[in-house]
Amino acid sequence: MARNPLRPARFDDLGLRRALGDRMLPLLVAAMAFLAALALAGVVGVRALAAHWQEGAGAALTVQVPRPAGQEGGKTRLDHVLAMLRDAPGVASARPLSEGELAELLRPWLGAGADRVAIPLPGVIAVRLIPGAADTEALAARLAGAVPGTLTESHDVWVQRLGLLAGSLQACAWLALAVVAAVAAAVVAIATTAGLAARREAIEIVHGLGATDGYIAGRFAGRVTGLAAAGGLLGALAALPALLALARLAAPFAAARPGADPSGLALPAPLWLALPALPLAAATIGFLAAQGTVRRWLRRLP
């Protein structure tokens, strides 16, 4: 005998293996898990891009010095500003752009002959700041005071706008995640209610034999939790190739990060943690929704 028939291996007193089939519920939960994975990728991706932009733009400053060759305090105006910048606290480096670089910057607007145009070009200094250590406004005021006409352009406004956009995108992704979780809970509740209706007689018999609400709810929750976990696993596995493809498309924007995997199989670390969490989250939602549904339904019995 392969199995002792008197042993309660997978004992299914309420007949839930048929009442709660192993197709529809896992597939629906898998679809929810797939959507949740995409939303999570949105959260993680937007956060990474926003951090990258902020890192790049937040620490940079552009200083324009009109009439750079003019004299101011015994030096050219450009050198004067340069010296002040190099002495200023919070400045990591200050480098004047060469005429070639300037021409390269202007080329989209003025064409290939930009260096021969008879417009007086200002001197441009690219400044890298030590993040958080510089007071840009005070620095701009001092430069303009010492060398009149000097313009200091901070990238703060753009960083703020990008930050706002990133924040909104992230909020949308979190909202999508919450909606997906709510729909998953509703799907489980509907499936459980159908199972309750299909097994009404068996439930009444078991109830009459002295089963507590906890016993009956536990039977349902056990079955539903397993099905939801399977669905969550299925959805996470299905989402993996999609996320890898998205990560590869996003790679150029987040490029030049040390240690980035050039093979294209790289996912941000938080996603590697979030994907295995999907079956767990699906199981938790399934357990809670089934317990709640069954216990509420059982209150009709004395």
Binding site: A211, D213, P302
Partner: protein, 225 residues
């Protein structure tokens, strides 16, 4: 063991505005621990409703019902399952679970009670032998005759050694010889201390096994003793 004081029961048809129907009215009697009662009366007299009350499947709508020292009308819902586990019930329509074998049907109350599997096997095997179905342990209800199903239902009701045993027309599907055998089993349980209430309209059976009787008609108690 069981005490009723002016107990009434109404069924209010769900979702309709029809006035509630009185199925039991002003029932007062008590049965001591270890007592035996026939529950007699024509069909529709309220025998099954009274058994449902005693099985805690419904609560009285008036009066006071006390089962094993617990006031059923007052007690909390979550206190009832433990009480039900001490009551065995044989239903007229058996109410076996069709997808479970005879063994698993009989084991059900013990598993619900959380007994260890070793004890369950011993008790169920013994009870199967007691009702003469030890060869049919693995049969599904559909593979059993009406009389065999009824014996499974009886085995399920007694396997947990209930303090109170309720039986609704337990001989309905049995021939005379089997009915006799059943009465012998019920008497044996009663001698061992189980309070037994048997609803029937099998007058011949009652005549062969005279005992105290509750006689119902139209929801009222006609006679007792």
């Amino acid at each position: 063991m069981v005490r009723l004081e002016g107990v009434g029961l109404q069924y209010r048809p769900a979702g309709t505005s029809r006035t509630a129907e009185d199925v039991l009215r002003g029932l007062s009697f008590s049965i001591p621990e270890g007592g035996f009662r026939w529950l007699l009366g024509p069909s529709g007299a309220g025998k099954t409703s009274l058994l449902r009350l005693l099985h805690l499947a419904v609560r009285p709508t008036s009066g006071r019902l006390t089962v094993m020292g617990t006031d059923i009308g007052q007690t909390e819902r979550r206190a009832l399952p433990a009480l039900r586990r001490r009551i065995g019930m044989v239903f007229q329509d058996f109410r076996l679970l069709p997808h479970l074998s005879a063994y698993d049907n009989i084991a059900l109350p013990l598993r619900i009670g959380g007994r260890p599997e070793g004890q369950i096997r011993a008790d169920v095997t013994e009870t199967l032998r007691w009702v003469g179905l030890d060869k049919k342990a693995l049969s599904l209800p559909a593979q059993l005759s009406g009389g065999e199903q009824q014996r499974v239902a009886i085995a399920r009701a007694v396997v947990g050694r209930p303090a109170l045993l309720l039986a609704d027309e337990p001989t309905g599907n049995l021939d005379d010889a089997q009915a006799e055998r059943l009465m012998v089993m019920l008497n044996e349980l009663n001698r061992l201390g189980t309070t037994v209430i048997v609803a029937t309209h099998n007058d011949a059976l009652v005549a062969r096994h005279p005992g105290a009787a509750l006689r119902l008609d139209n929801g009222r108690l006609l006679a007792r003793g």
